[in-house]
């Protein structure tokens, strides 16, 4: 047990040195020393959780009703396009998306089979299950019904959540320079953390908008009375005005959609009103040009998230692929819409189901008090060890200090955030870290009382204490692992510190402190042992 070959001394010393080295950048952060720290040495600092750094955290959840609605709308779009493109053209009507499925009538009953054949190409098999993402059935011999399958919806949701995560990230951090965290959580949630933001309202407005932009022709044939009652002619739909002053009938068919945008910026029109300038990609520009050409002197509606922003008249064909969206904006709302449009539409509406904001002062306060408490706690435990175990207390203390530094170093390496409960975990670990040393030292005392010689007592002490050290720490690992698995942010921070602390405290007790003991015994060959 006390036989420490040279390589082992090196291995332990290097591990300890590395741990300390990684801890230093976090310790000297903000002081003059930090600038003199050589660049070739590790520079990763411990990142702080939101409860310490201050900032906002939002938990977003996909609105499943909206997800299936958007998916149906997209399917409707592809179906009508596909059948219109068919040779010969297949005319359909009476499209309905009620009841979560898409049904429509094929006008020419002889073309039903051809239509079904066409639609098969639109549906795709899901994974290896053999199921398709939509089920195509014919009812009453002329109606075709597309029903989303559960596996298809599940995959669509998964894809949508991945896209939504990227869209959210682009909206919050268009330049990609901020330290924001945007991650998927579970099947239908996204966790957003933005340090430093104290008022999350602007954040929520950015994320709250689906930003589905569509241009549709206004249906001038609609009877205003019927529109008021919410009824529109075949092939049209009634949509509310964004300012809440009424509704308007528009053609169901989308002229151009926001998917074909390449750019959106906040701008001003000739009257100095804030607007959003948009630019289409080549195919979007071509389509926009053609439709405006065919519909000069007719109004078209600019629709955002199912609400009509404005319905200007097409005075002349718009050929350059550039357009302006007006609609009672302030500079701020125009800017937000521009960011939302440029980042793409959210494939699903997201609701905020949890929100936490911490002011920066509270975090600073907590760090300061936490640091003081950690130092005082460490000193108290050191003093206690010294008066209890004398020389062996010095070794335990050395182990304790190394342990504390290694915890900080490992936190910095892994980049896991230190949270407020994490500070409590750190102090708890400091108190508990000496346990392995206590177990060993008490055992040595005992073995000595039983009449063993010094070397023998130390040897036996280490050997006999090791099973207790192992089993006692496993219980903590079990608790910490469950804490990590079930916990959210701050608790996970606590669990991480505990787990790292368990590993480092066992390492320092059975390797580092023991090595110091071994070196001392080899050099001094003591004949009495004060412990």
């Amino acid at each position: 047990m006390l036989d420490f070959p040279r390589w082992k001394i090196w291995a332990v010393s290097l591990t300890v040195a590395a741990g300390i080295l990684f801890a230093i950048p976090s310790l000297i952060a903000g002081t003059a020393l930090a600038e003199r720290w050589p660049a070739w040495l590790p520079s990763a600092k411990i990142s702080l959780g939101l409860d310490l750094s201050g900032g906002s955290q939002l938990l977003l959840e996909a609105d499943s009703a909206d997800a299936s609605k958007q998916r149906l709308a997209a399917m409707e779009d592809s179906v009508t396009t596909e059948l219109r493109r068919a040779q010969p053209r297949i005319e359909v009507g009476d499209i309905s998306t009620t009841g979560g499925r898409l049904t429509f009538m094929v006008r020419d009953p002889t073309k039903v089979d051809a239509a079904v054949e066409k639609l098969r190409t639109l549906t795709q098999p899901v994974g290896l299950t053999g199921n398709r993402d939509w089920e195509v059935t014919v009812v009453d011999s002329t109606r075709i019904m597309l029903t989303p399958t559960p596996s298809g919806s599940a995959r669509a949701l998964k894809d949508a959540m991945t896209v939504a995560r990227d869209v959210v990230r682009r909206r919050i951090d268009p330049q990609g320079t901020k330290e924001v965290t945007v991650i998927n959580q579970g099947l239908r949630r996204i966790l957003v953390q933005v340090p430093g933001v104290e008022d999350p309202e602007a954040l929520k407005r950015l994320i709250g908008q689906t930003a589905r932009l569509e241009f549709k022709l206004v249906d001038l044939t609609a009877d205003p009375q019927q529109v008021l009652e919410g009824r529109a002619p075949a092939g049209s739909q009634v949509l509310p005005l964004a300012d809440g002053t009424g509704a308007m009938a528009v053609r169901r068919r989308v002229m151009v959609s926001g998917d074909q945008l390449v750019d959106a910026r906040q701008d001003f029109d000739q009257d100095g009103q804030p607007v959003v300038s948009i630019k289409f990609n080549t195919s979007g520009a071509r389509r926009f040009g053609r439709v405006t050409q065919e519909n000069v002197n007719k109004p078209f509606a600019i629709i955002l998230d199912e609400k009509i922003l404005s319905a200007p008249n097409i005075n002349e064909p718009i050929l350059g692929g550039q357009a302006q969206i007006s609609g009672n904006f302030t500079v701020e709302t125009a800017n937000q819409l521009a960011i939302s449009l440029a980042s793409g539409k959210l494939p699903v509406k997201l609701n905020v189901i949890e929100e936490r904001t911490v002011g920066p002062e509270l975090g600073k306060d907590s760090i300061q008090k936490g640091t003081i408490a950690s130092i005082v706690a460490t000193l108290a435990v050191i003093l206690f060890m010294l008066v209890t175990y004398g020389r062996f207390g010095v070794y335990a203390t050395a182990g304790l200090v190394v342990n504390a530094l290694m915890i900080l170093g490992i936190l910095a390496i892994f980049g896991s955030a230190l949270t407020l409960p994490g500070i409590a975990g750190f102090v708890l670990t400091i108190g508990a870290a000496v346990d392995a040393n206590v177990l060993i030292n008490e055992r040595i005392r005992e073995e000595q009382r039983r009449g063993r010689k010094i070397l023998d007592a130390i040897e036996t002490g280490y050997k006999e204490a090791s099973t207790a050290i192992f089993d006692a720490n496993i219980t903590n690992v079990i608790a910490a692992a469950l804490m990590y698995y079930f916990g959210s942010g701050p608790i996970q921070g606590f669990a991480v510190v505990l787990m790292i602390g368990i590993v480092t405290s066992v390492f320092t007790a059975v390797n580092f402190s023991r090595m110091l003991v071994a070196i001392w015994i080899k050099r001094k060959r003591p004949r009495v042992l004060h412990i």
């Binding site: 002011g359 175990y389 508990a432 079990i478 804490m483 079930f486």
Partner: protein, 316 residues
């Protein structure tokens, strides 16, 4: 140098003589704790019941009644106001607003605006909004984590030792966790997510002592096969007593420093772990060890089965 010896060498305390008294006391305390939880209830934070919490630090002591009436005049529902951490730090709790997300935003920003306007130098430290759905999940996850930690540790100990030890550990954990619940019921300290972390830490560290004592009992069972179970447990407890005291004191020392000097927000968490360490030390001596007697652990429990069956073996 004279070293501090909290526990004299070669103690020979008859711990087990008091086991029945301790058992009765523990049962009373456990039942009382659970009754308190039933009668007084727990002061659950927004994490577990949903709603909004606004934490504010004022520049000087304020009139709470005035603050209460100011908040209620905003029409944001029944507000609960309580001191939190320091004399100038308050928590304003608002119920879940009826009108969904938008209403929640309005309520929080109204309170925020009122505070900034009416109290010079006040700062809003934190705003938390938790929907009913999330709070239900968090409560469920917390309960699940604590239960699984208790069972997981008990199963581990069963595998490493014998079934009696596993059951003993589980009973000990149940005892400790009940006490802490009782503590939160009596003090009405807020139970939030952080407290779940405290419970899990207690579950881990309470058993730390127990495992060390069990380890020594196992060792002695193998060493002294002819010793009766009661003297054997006493021996193990006496042998590990010094270590139990030193480690527990060291943990409590560190946590006391955190309690005094540390951040206010984790006061409840720290106090709970501190108390848990104390209770855990008691229960590892007076619950974990005597449980083995009550569960019928025999001095030959750790002998190999074949060894036990051989006629004329050591125990015969």
């Amino acid at each position: 140098m004279k070293l501090l010896k909290l526990v004299p060498d070669n103690t020979n305390l008859d711990f087990m003589a008091w086991r029945n008294v301790a058992l009765i006391l523990s049962i009373i305390a456990t039942v009382a704790s659970l009754t308190m939880v039933g009668v007084l209830g727990l002061n659950l934070g927004v994490d577990f019941v949903g709603g909004q919490m606004i934490r504010t630090t004022f520049a000087q002591p304020i009139d709470v009644d005035q603050l209460r009436s100011r908040v209620s005049s905003l029409g944001v529902g029944d507000a609960a106001i309580q001191e939190s951490g320091g004399p100038t730090t308050y928590q304003i709790r608002l119920p879940k607003p009826e009108g969904g997300e938008a209403a929640a935003n309005r309520a929080a920003s109204r309170v925020r605006g009122m505070i900034e306007q009416s109290y010079a130098g006040a700062r809003v430290d934190a705003v938390e909004t938790v929907s009913g759905k999330v709070s239900e999940e968090l409560a469920l996850d917390g309960a699940l984590a604590i239960t699984l930690a208790m069972l997981g540790i008990a199963v581990y100990i069963w595998f490493r030792f014998e079934w009696q030890f596993g059951v003993g550990a589980l009973v000990t954990l149940f005892h400790d966790v009940s006490m802490i619940f009782g503590f939160f019921a009596v003090t009405q300290l807020q139970v939030d997510l952080n407290i779940v972390a405290a419970f899990l830490a207690i579950v881990g560290y309470s058993l730390n002592d127990t495992v060390v004592i069990y380890d020594r009992i196992r060792e002695n069972l193998r060493k002294f096969r002819k010793m009766g179970i009661i003297p054997l447990l006493n021996l193990a407890l006496n042998e590990t007593l010094s270590r139990t005291i030193v480690t527990s004191l060291s943990i409590m020392l560190a946590l006391t420093m955190l309690l005094i000097f540390g951040p206010d927000v984790i006061f409840g968490l720290t106090l709970a772990i501190l108390l848990g360490t104390f209770i855990g030390t008691y229960s590892s001596i007076y619950i974990s060890a005597p449980m083995l007697i009550w569960l019928g652990l025999k001095p030959d429990s750790f002998l190999q089965v074949d060894e036990r069956n051989v006629p004329g073996g050591q125990e015969a």
